[in-house]
Amino acid sequence: MSSQYVLNMEGISKEYYGNRVLNEVNLAVRPGEIHALMGENGAGKSTLMNVLFGMPVIHNTGGFTGSISVDGEPVTIENPQKAMELGIGMVHQEFMLIPGFTVTENIKIGREITTPGIASHIFGKSLERLDRESMRKDARKALDTIGLNIEEYVKVKGLPVGYMQFIEIAREIDKTGIKLLIFDEPTAVLTESEAERLLEAMRVIASQGIAIVFITHRLDEVISVTDHVTILRDGQFVKRLVTAETSAVEIAELMIGRRVEKLLDEADDHRTLSDDDVMLSLRDYFVDMPGEQVRGIDLDVRRGEIFGIGGLAGQGKLGVPNGIMGLHASTGSILLEGEPVEPEKLGDALKKGIGFVSEDRRGVGLLLEESIEDNIVFTAMQIKGLFLKSIGIGTLYDAKAGRAHTEDMVKQLDIRCTGTNQRAGALSGGNQQKVCLARALTLNPKLLIVSEPTRGIDIGAKKLVIELLASLNREEGMTVVVVSSELNELRSICDRIAIVSEGKIADILHPDDSDADYGLAMAGYKRGGDEVEG
């Protein structure tokens, strides 16, 4: 086998606890090329990289099947150190930099240049003194290579984020014998001009014969710098394309794929939706949720509809419900039936009639150590004063009413449990989700916001939860907002779907719109090809 490829991963398959996350995936990278690796969240990109780096998470869960070869030589990579020795480097998404250290110290971290002294002769190599001058020179060289004009002796603390990315890169290319660099969504945190410079630096690095695997969601970047694209979808290898022969639309289509099944029958739809009858209205809405920043959204949800909010992880879709519920600081106006909701007031959204099922089921959603009954009635007790009885000197929990309601809910939602006293933490994911829903429904909300309703639950339960949401909407006339990363799920029940990209709404689509439209919206484009202002 010739060494046409610096890295060749063939037929990689990986299962986590019987759940197949990678299936016969191939990735082949030529020396000196920039190779894009694309796919939705959960498509298997991270797992593939974990396999490449021999991360413990892979080996602790039964390893993988398939073969990896570097420069045509078959290799086994059992730990990240081995990957480093083979000349594979990674530029992390979260910066692996120490703020209190200088740029030089960060670039040479763990690989300091030392000179021996008397103590090192006696006690060993670790007491050799640092040769700061040589370290400085190496760092300067690496920084010059990528064209970063900062002083190598300044501390990293206080440098702009964009610079930190470059320092990470400088550290990787300073390593001797580096052949392949992985960039994991490097431009996600950069401003436009910084991203531009990063792409330029990537070209420079590639021109020196170092291959780059570029993981990104930004289609324009893929088109402008890469030579090849490998697309994954649901752990499957979809296609390897030559960038010059493809287009953003084709890539977007391949990433999404068509596999939507409609859950709801149009014939059953007796609702009348009107653009004037607005249930929830957001104007100039910002949320400061770490990792899910919302940066200015205007949105109207009509009474009686199922409204979807989709988008990739980290783009801000989760910030929308969390801001409304007051879990993260927000600004802008939130109107429920024309009445303002004040999220800074604890529980105001709940009081005004918004039910919420959090995406963080085990953290925010449930009291894991408490019984199903307590979990279901607790919020209503707190917010609405239900299930309480007065005994003159104070109020007590009305166990009878609470029990009756819980049993009713268990029956209605088909919560599989040993009894209403069972610990919520002992339930399966799907049943936990139903408990969360039951709690939200106990408040008898006008608007139900469900965040990631099917995260972490098995396929059968997924379908049940989705059907439940649909029946709540059709039969009870409840307005439902579903926030989900699973586009298919949204497309199967929603009337309209807003795609959030970089904290703004890229587009509001109809479930029947084409895959390409969805793919482009996720990458920040509005229909018609204009990029939203970012």
Binding site: I109, P116, G117, S120, V161, F286, Q293, A329
Partner: protein, 502 residues
Amino acid sequence: MKSNYLHYLKDRTIDAAKALYANKVVLMFFILCTFGLATTGKPPTYTVVEVFTRFGRNTFLVLALIIPVLAGLGLNFGIVVGAMAAQVAIFWTVYWGFTGLKGIAVCLLMATPIAILFGWLVGRLYNRTKGAEMITGLILAYFAEGLYQFFFLYLIGGIIPVENPTMIIAGGTGVKNTIDLAGNLKYAIDTISLLSVARGLSVAYALVSVVLWALNRQKSEGLQKPLQKDRLFGAAIVFAATFVPPVHDFMATDRLQLSRGIPVFGVLIALVALFRVVTAGRTGKDEQYRMRQGTVSLIALIAVGVSFVPAIHKILTSVHLPVMTYVLIALLCVFNNWLLSTKLGQDMRTVGQSRTVANAAGINVNRTRIIAMSMSTVLAAWGQIIYLQNLGTFATYGAHTMCGQYAIAALLVGGASVQQANNKQAILGVFLFHTLFVVAPLSASTVFGSALIGEYFRVFICYGVIALSLAMHAWKAIPKGDKKDKEPDALPGEGTEAPAEA
């Protein structure tokens, strides 16, 4: 040039004042000390003598805390374990009847391996309780106390046959409450004269230079460094100078009177600094360097001048410094700095800043932390030996109980925090803390008219200092993190720049 220099002086003074102002903890204790000094009701001579004695006694222990702070282990309450190792060694040394320097040598030989073992164990424990090292250390100290008492109260005499009526409780089991060190270990280190120190150091320096040169020659052809003859020459001059009668007489006393020491060393420092200013051009140093050296000589000369002011001269005359103890403190400062310039020190700093990053860079985090703990424990053991030989009596069950708290309080007062500490902070802290420690009971009894209140004050000060300085550091740290939560208004404009501020 001249106005340039004045400008430089002004800048440095402003910098120093700013630094003092920025460091509110130090400023606060500075004010407390000044207030205390003004209200002691005793002549300043008393306080100054006390503070210098305590400085010699305690500083080594405080300096032993720096390495774990740098390695991210926080303030090491576990140094108590090191102190225990020293005390076990001291007990046996006294029991076997070794005295003087020989006794100290036996102590060190015995305490060091025990301390390394203890440090290793503590390090392993800390590795299992990452993020909670301080509370672990505190509790560990209580736990170790139990084992220590078991050893001294029951095992000695009970299981291990020890017969010595002056050390063992009448029944034959257990060690007495106090062991007198007078006549065996008391002042064993303190009384080493400047003369021996100077001769010893110059010979050691010359030896090290030669050995280094020899090792280098052996190793690689390309990197050969020539034998640095001027170094050897310097060492020889120092060695020879100790035989000149006036110098010999000056140095032969076992304590250094501060009123004599300051003029001699002040002039020496000033001369060296001036020499550097003159030769700066030749060795290619910049103007900044020359100005700094100039300032050093200026300050040294001013100090010499001030020491001759009658009132101050009188105080200084009554201060007698134990030379070797102070030299050891200086050497430990040098060691701490040197360690930071090594690969191991850099690893420690990396681990201290971020374990994740250190791990990703291939640094063995757990091993580095254990090494840091062992070093700290060994240094604490040595520090306790210095402490006890100066104190002269060894309270078997009480000598170690507060050493962790006192040392930590002193370090915190100097402006150090859980994340960062250095030699300067340790030294400043020891001065401030012990000044306060000396004056507080006195001024409390003059202000409140009761000596008992003064005694409460000491305990109160120690714990109060730890709580107050930790709280003040925390307050100082809050505003940065809190700002973002409180200003959602700033959101719209932030966009992608937002993380940069954090």
